[in-house]
């Protein structure tokens, strides 16, 4: 096998040189066969988790935020931790589909569709938290610039308003981008199906796509434009989410490093999640030749790189705390590493910085089980990163008499579990209703077809 040694030749993205019809069959199979009991089991588990979250949130809605562990001074805890976490997860999708598209990273084709879908689901999940975490959720509409007879307007100096715009824009653009990519595939599915009902739905969804040359021409153009449009959003969303903290005056939040640090962290955790879920999908649906081990290895490299960026940020925070000579700042960071939430800090550091170093070894980068475990740890670590930032900072700020500790309640945990339930329910429904890999794009990167030109 010469490609293992010859680095001048790009490794094939799709293995085994499958034919068009094989690609069609392989990707469309889950949509055209009856699901097995395993599918229902998976759906059952995720909807149960979702239901648990809904019940916990129902109690919160009825009785108030007091059902959670939040207190004075810790006004934000799991609610905002989960929000930032899910927004972070939602970062990989657009990065893979837009930025890697513009950078001509063709290995993205196998994973782009799925990653984009995950982005949308993660942003939907994340978007619920800012609305639910408010004290009076029935008035959450006040957060939007809705004209009213009282001449009440929103406060454009508040980072939370920036969040509203950033997240809603990101969701809209990601959705449009994802949907545009789906149109040729819907048309293909429309052509394949014999079921009248499905045919109608796919006909509507495919917007009359006829695979014509003009269609393809416009499609490619639009895709390129949208990719260009989505690219800055990848950077802006988490930058703005980081402003929620950086714009405040609290030591430990008020830091200029936050925007790049948050973006790197978001890509890091997003890749971790995409890698995790794809490992399962490719196994379950026999797509190992389409979502190849090479692709996974590349993702692992991204995880390694972003993990080190995050690690650098951790180090520089400490350095600046010492270098600034600001006693509040140094207290906060020493307290993070040695105070009563030190365990959370060290979970974060070990998961995000220490364990990912194993990806320096090619063997680990290319073995499924170790990389899966590291991927899980990355997300555990990133969740704890947000916990450390939000909770430990608030628990000990300026006046020692304000300090308190945060203990999550059943409802906090329930809503966290419910958010995973919602995310996975959407993912599981997605894999049965839409092609998890972009059929049309994959066709374009199969070696055998390339050589014919």
């Amino acid at each position: 096998m010469s490609r293992d040694y010859d680095y001048t030749i790009e490794a094939p993205i799709i293995e085994q040189n499958p034919s068009h019809s094989h690609i069609n069959d392989a990707i469309a199979r889950p949509l055209e066969t009856k699901p097995t009991w395993k599918y229902y089991l998976a759906l059952g588990i995720s909807t149960s988790m979702l239901l648990f979250g809904v019940v916990c949130w129902g109690y919160t809605f009825y009785y108030g935020i007091g059902m959670w562990g939040n207190n004075q001074p810790i006004g934000w805890a799991f609610d905002i931790v989960n929000f930032v976490f899910w927004i972070g997860i939602g970062h990989a999708g657009t990065l893979i589909s837009a930025i890697l598209f513009l950078l001509r990273q063709r290995w993205r084709t196998g994973i782009a569709r799925f990653a984009e879908a995950m982005t949308i689901f993660a942003v939907i999940t994340a978007g619920l938290f800012p609305l639910f975490h408010v004290g009076r959720p029935w008035l959450a509409g006040y957060l939007f610039p809705l004209p009213n007879q009282h001449h009440l307007w929103i406060n454009f100096t508040s980072p939370l308003i920036w969040d509203v715009f950033a997240v809603s824009t990101y969701l809209t653009v990601s959705f449009v981008f994802w949907y545009i990519g789906l149109i040729p595939d819907f048309a293909m599915l429309r052509d394949r199906t014999t079921n009248k009902f499905k045919k109608t739905i796919y006909s509507i969804l495919s917007f009359g796509w006829r695979h014509s040359n003009r269609h393809w021409h416009h499609y490619e153009m639009l895709y390129l434009v949208l990719a260009g449009f989505a690219t800055p959003l990848v950077l802006s969303v988490h930058t703005i989410v980081s402003f929620d903290f950086a714009v405040s005056i609290l030591p430990g939040w008020h830091t200029t490093i936050f925007p790049p640090y948050f973006v790197a962290g978001a890509v890091f955790s997003g890749f971790g999640m995409v890698q995790n879920v794809l490992i399962i999908i490719r196994k379950v649906f026999d797509l190992e030749h389409i979502i190849t081990i090479d692709t996974l290895e590349k993702m692992n490299k991204v995880i390694l790189a972003t993990g080190m960026m995050v690690g650098y940020a951790y180090a520089i925070e400490f350095f600046i705390a010492w270098y600034s000579g600001n006693q509040f700042e140094s207290f906060v960071f020493i307290n993070r590493a040695l105070g009563n939430y030190a365990w959370a800090y060290w979970v974060m550091v070990s998961c995000n910085v220490v364990f990912t170093q194993l990806f320096w070894f090619k063997k680990i980068r290319r073995s499924i089980i170790p990389m899966f475990i590291i991927g899980v740890l990355v997300n555990v670590g990133m969740w704890f990163e947000r916990f450390v930032i939000v909770v430990t900072t608030l628990s000990k700020d300026f006046l020692p008499t304000n300090w308190a500790s945060y203990i999550p309640t059943l409802y906090d945990t329930g809503i966290l579990i419910g958010s995973f339930g919602l995310f996975f329910t959407l993912v599981i429904l997605f894999i049965r209703t839409m092609p998890v890999v972009s059929i049309s794009e994959v066709k374009g990167v199969v070696e055998i077809f390339k050589k014919q030109h």
Partner: protein
């Protein structure tokens, strides 16, 4: 200037009729239908839209939850003196404790709302303690008894007032016919009219005996006084005249004597503008009390060493030139010569330099020093204090204490009563709103003795341990629904007048007793009796130019009335006492000190949520009492806060959680009594631990200090709710942060006088946004930490004024207390002998408020007079403002706390009446915080507009300022250069907390000056 004419079209220029018509009509012709709406036929577009809109509106309102929330009935005829929306103030007297402070009750539309001190009252001078303020909640308490009850087996049956009256009358007659005793048990009585009534009662029922007592009273102080100064009435110190104060386990700033007056007197010698008049205060104590925390020098010393300490001090003093009768000095000296300072200092571990310093101070200020022992201390300790004061000539700064109208019973008399009860010689026992079953140690057997009495009648407002063991329960009216008077025995009268009709149709106890004398139950009879007594006893004694009605109304109006009389107290000491005095010596055994509670009186206020939630001044514990022990003992025994220990005294045992209190010497346990009531309603459920179990009546006669205690760890623990986190003082990471961060700034008085003391000020900081100029009134506050003693009156005033809900212990444990103002307590130094600093913290109303820019919905904004405002209606509750507040003074409604607390107790019928109608009751999910009492500012502004005067800052007083007994809070207009506020704000001792953040706070703190000598312990 030329008056130009502008025109829009030629017709207008030509000014035709058509153009006039055009100008008047909104739409030009052709844009509207020429028929009116009613005239149109069938359905057209406009009609369709109109009908759709109105149908939608009807459905929208029909579906909304806008039910009728009760009817509003306006006054048919406006009562005199009531103006809707304007409060009326009535002078009265507080009966929450025995100090009987003069109060001013604010009422709106006939509803009492807030209690403040009566400014015309010469004793408390317009100030009042937290209990007095919170007593309004007792008036409206839904658990107040409403119907008379009669015991039936184990439960009670309701009966009507007349039956009750006849049955009680019958039992009284039966008892007096059979020669059985009718015992009346009451708190000490200070009402001259009520005493007359009791004499009348005794005349009718000759076997009547009256017993009066007050909780946690050992009489050792009175006994020592009576024996030492046989001819003088009991006196106390006037701290405004004391240059040096030495307190021995005394809490005179918090709950001993008239502490409201004591605070005022004490802080009158803490005025930064008169630095030469500062007093120096030494405190020797076991417990770290609020009083000890305010001492310049605090000497932690186990209670059993106090006698030795005083004896040594006396011995050293007598060696100096005191200019006292030589013969007597020599005689006493012989008795005390064995107490050597060096030996004592090494035995008790006291800093000898400090004691020498104290001796020098006492000598130098001879005649102007006060040596005072705590009420609960040993007889011998009181005696030594009296002796030291005598030889130092301190009697010149004594003043006479209020004297009860009926002499207090001695404890042995109570013991006699129990014996009589047990012998079946007591036919009827009237319990006048006391609770002896709870108050007296269990070994007295009061509960058992009660069952031997033929009929026990309890006149109470609430159920209690004693009331539940009575045959009849007579619900009585609250003080605010009653008539009464008070006389302090030395010339000062004050009156009690009702400000509301009895809410539950109850009788005041005096009405009922007087009716029993006259054989007919009659409401308001005591009112007539009171007036006639005043006419006879006081009005007719002097020659007044007015008739009695006018005289009476002017007394009621003022609330007080002073008889001019010269007070002579003959301080002739009896030195023979010392021939037989028994010396006490400290040991290494455990000592238990029982202290009076800070905020719950004699346990009566344990069912008052506001008072339970008021944090303990030192430890910030709410809803509980605990056994305070030292850090070193806790370490040695492996105990942490909340671990339960078993205390043993003789055969009695008590299980109680410990709490580490800085400054308690080792082998000492301090417990506050009055907690742990089992039968006092749902608010007091599971609040604290009952100390009566371990106490022994015999020992309490000598004082509330118990020696030879055992303390054993048992493997149980309990959750204690505090409003702050406690960190070990020995942990260098956390210790002294308040000083490192310049939150607390303080220095030595000496340095300040020499001009050496400097406040830390960060370098001038610039803002990137243009500064907003406040040219008109701008509100600001100054808090003088030299005056603030940390009593908590401001917190309670704010609770009452601003409708602060009670959140309950579970929510305090979750750190969700709602008080808008708090008193932060910081400790520095060692855990063995800490220095304490208090800081009142509230919204700082920063000019560049960090909370404002982060609110997404503009629910918190700045006003043009410099206030940081909260718009509750707009708030959605993101809590971002609170996160970004460096002072963390914002409070979030995590629940609807009113319905969360005890299943909606605060929403139950009468409780709602306690709300101040001027202040919004906040719903759940909104943020709230101190408003600088904006309702009062607005009222002042309305007033100024009505009078067409400019609004001045001086007239507005915030609730906390009004309540502060120390006058530590000043509020006003910082642009008014003549105001007191302006002077203080620009004082060189003034600083802002967290000034380097440049949020520009509007609350200035005046740095505390400690009157220590730099070479001794500073």
């Amino acid at each position: 200037m030329e008056d130009k004419r502008y025109w829009k079209f030629f017709d207008e220029l030509q000014d035709t009729a058509k153009s006039e018509k055009l100008k008047q009509e909104e739409f030009p012709e052709g844009l509207k239908s020429d028929k009116g709406f009613e005239q149109t036929q069938g359905i057209n577009r406009r009609k369709f839209l109109a009908l759709t809109a109105s149908t939608a509106a009807i459905f929208a309102t029909a579906c909304s939850d806008y039910r009728d929330k009760g009817s509003i009935v306006p006054y048919n005829q406006q009562p005199e003196n009531i103006q809707i929306g304007k409060p009326n103030f009535y002078a009265s007297t507080c009966t929450s404790c025995l100090n009987h402070c003069g109060i001013l009750i604010k009422t709106r539309e006939g509803r009492p709302l807030k209690i403040d001190g009566n400014p015309d009252h010469p004793i408390n001078k317009g100030k009042i303690c937290p209990i007095g303020q919170a007593s309004i909640l007792n008036l409206y308490h839904p658990e107040r008894l409403r119907k008379p009850l009669k015991k039936n087996g184990k439960s009670f049956n309701e009966l009507n007032w007349n039956t009750l009256f006849t049955e009680i009358l019958a039992s009284l007659e039966k008892a007096s016919n059979n020669g059985k005793i009718v015992a009346i048990l009451s708190q000490p009585i200070f009402s001259p009219t009520f005493v007359k009534l009791i004499y009348m009662f005794q005349a009718k029922y000759p076997t009547t005996k009256v017993y009066t007592y007050s909780y946690l009273e050992s009489y050792s102080k009175e006994q020592a006084w009576e024996e030492f100064y046989p001819k003088a009435k009991l006196s106390e110190f006037d701290f405004s005249r004391a240059n040096v104060i030495l307190a021995i386990e005394s809490n005179f700033l918090a709950n001993e004597g008239n502490f409201v007056r004591n605070i005022q007197d004490f802080v009158s010698k803490r005025d930064i503008n008169r630095p030469n008049e500062f007093s120096r205060f030494y405190s020797v104590e076991t417990d770290l009390s609020l009083t000890g925390a305010n001492a310049d020098y605090r000497i932690p010393l186990k209670a059993d060493f106090h006698y030795e300490f005083l004896a040594t001090l006396l011995n050293e003093l007598l060696k100096r030139d005191l200019n006292y009768n030589r013969a007597i000095v020599e005689k006493i000296q012989g008795k005390f010569s064995r107490f050597n300072l060096e030996d004592f200092a090494s035995k008790a571990g006291v800093d000898i330099k400090l004691v020498r310093n104290l001796i020098d101070d006492l000598i130098q200020n001879k005649g102007k020093t006060a040596v005072i022992a705590g009420d609960s201390h040993f007889y011998e300790v009181h005696l030594l204090c009296l002796l030291i004061n005598e030889v130092l000539g301190n009697s010149s700064i004594y003043r006479i204490c209020p004297q009860p109208s009926l002499p207090k019973s001695k404890l042995f008399e109570i013991e006699e009563l129990v014996t009589l009860m047990n012998q079946g010689k007591v036919g009827v026992l009237f319990n006048l709103d006391t609770n002896p079953v709870f108050h007296f140690p269990s070994d007295l057997g009061f509960e058992n003795a009660l069952s031997k009495v033929e009929s026990v009648v309890s006149f109470v407002e609430f159920e209690s341990e004693t009331a539940n063991r009575s045959h009849y329960i007579v619900p009585i009216s609250h003080n605010f629904e009653s008539w009464g008077d008070y006389y302090d025995g030395i010339g000062l009268f004050s009156t009690i007048q009702p400000v509301i009709e009895p809410l539950f149709g109850t009788y005041q106890k005096e009405d009922f007793l007087l009716s029993l004398v006259q054989n007919k139950l009659e409401r308001g009879i005591y009112h007539k009796y009171l007036k006639s007594n005043w006419q006879e006893s006081y009005f007719s004694q002097e020659k007044y130019a007015v008739d009695f009605e006018k005289f009476w109304h002017s007394v009621l109006h003022d609330g007080t009335f002073e008889l001019k009389q010269t007070l002579i107290n003959d301080y002739t000491p009896n030195f023979e006492l010392f021939d037989k005095i028994e010396h006490r010596f400290g040991t290494k055994d455990w000592v238990l000190v029982i202290k009076k509670p800070y905020f719950i009186g004699d346990g009566k206020f344990l069912n008052n949520g506001w008072l339970n939630e008021l944090p303990h001044p030192i430890t910030k514990v709410t809803w509980d009492n605990y056994a305070g022990i030292s850090q070193s003992d806790a370490n040695r025994l492996g105990l942490k806060n909340g671990d339960i220990v078993e205390l043993g005294y003789g055969k009695s045992k008590l299980e109680i959680p410990i709490f580490v209190v800085p400054g308690i010497p080792s082998s000492s346990v301090v417990i506050e009594a009055g907690f742990g009531r089992k039968e006092s309603g749902i608010v007091a459920e599971n609040v604290g631990f009952y100390v009566g179990k371990i106490l022994q009546f015999e020992t309490t006669k000598k004082g509330y200090i118990f020696e030879k205690i055992s303390l054993n760890k048992i493997n149980k623990s309990y959750q204690i709710a505090t409003t702050v986190e406690h960190h070990s003082l020995n942990d260098t990471f956390y210790s002294e942060l308040h000083k490192k961060r310049h939150i607390i700034q303080e220095g030595l008085l000496e340095d300040y006088k020499n001009g050496k003391y400097h406040i830390h000020r960060p370098h001038e900081l610039k803002s990137i946004v243009p500064e907003i100029k406040y040219t008109d009134v701008k509100w600001a506050m100054v808090i003088d930490m030299n005056k603030c003693v940390g009593c908590g009156a401001c917190i309670m005033a704010c609770n009452v004024e601003n409708n602060i809900p009670v959140v309950g212990k579970d929510q305090v444990l979750r750190s969700r207390e709602m008080q808008w103002i708090r008193v932060d307590t910081y400790f520095s130094g060692t855990a063995e002998n800490p220095e304490v600093s208090f800081q009142t913290m509230l919204c700082q109303h920063c000019d560049d408020a960090p909370c404002e820019n982060v609110c997404p919905v503009v629910a918190t904004v700045h006003s043009s007079d410099g206030l940081n405002l909260m718009v509750y209606n707009r708030c959605v509750g993101t809590r971002y403002c609170s996160n970004n507040c460096p002072y963390k003074v914002r409070r979030f409604n995590f629940f609807d706390f009113r319905s969360h607390f005890k299943n909606g107790l605060l929403y139950k019928d009468t409780y709602k009446l306690a709300n101040n109608p001027e202040v919004t009751v906040r719903s759940r999910g909104v943020m709230e915080k101190c408003t600088f009492c904006i309702q009062r500012i607005t009222e002042a502004r309305h007033q100024a507009i009505a009078e067409n005067k400019p609004l001045r800052g001086n007239g507005v007083r915030t609730a906390c300022q009004e309540a502060c007994p120390a006058n530590a809070i000043t509020f006003g207009d910082m642009n008014d250069k003549e105001s007191e506020l302006y002077q203080l704000r620009n004082h060189k001792l003034g600083y802002y907390v967290l000034e380097e953040l440049n949020v520009k706070p509007n609350v200035t703190y005046i740095a505390k000056l400690r009157n220590k000598k730099s070479e001794v312990g500073a």
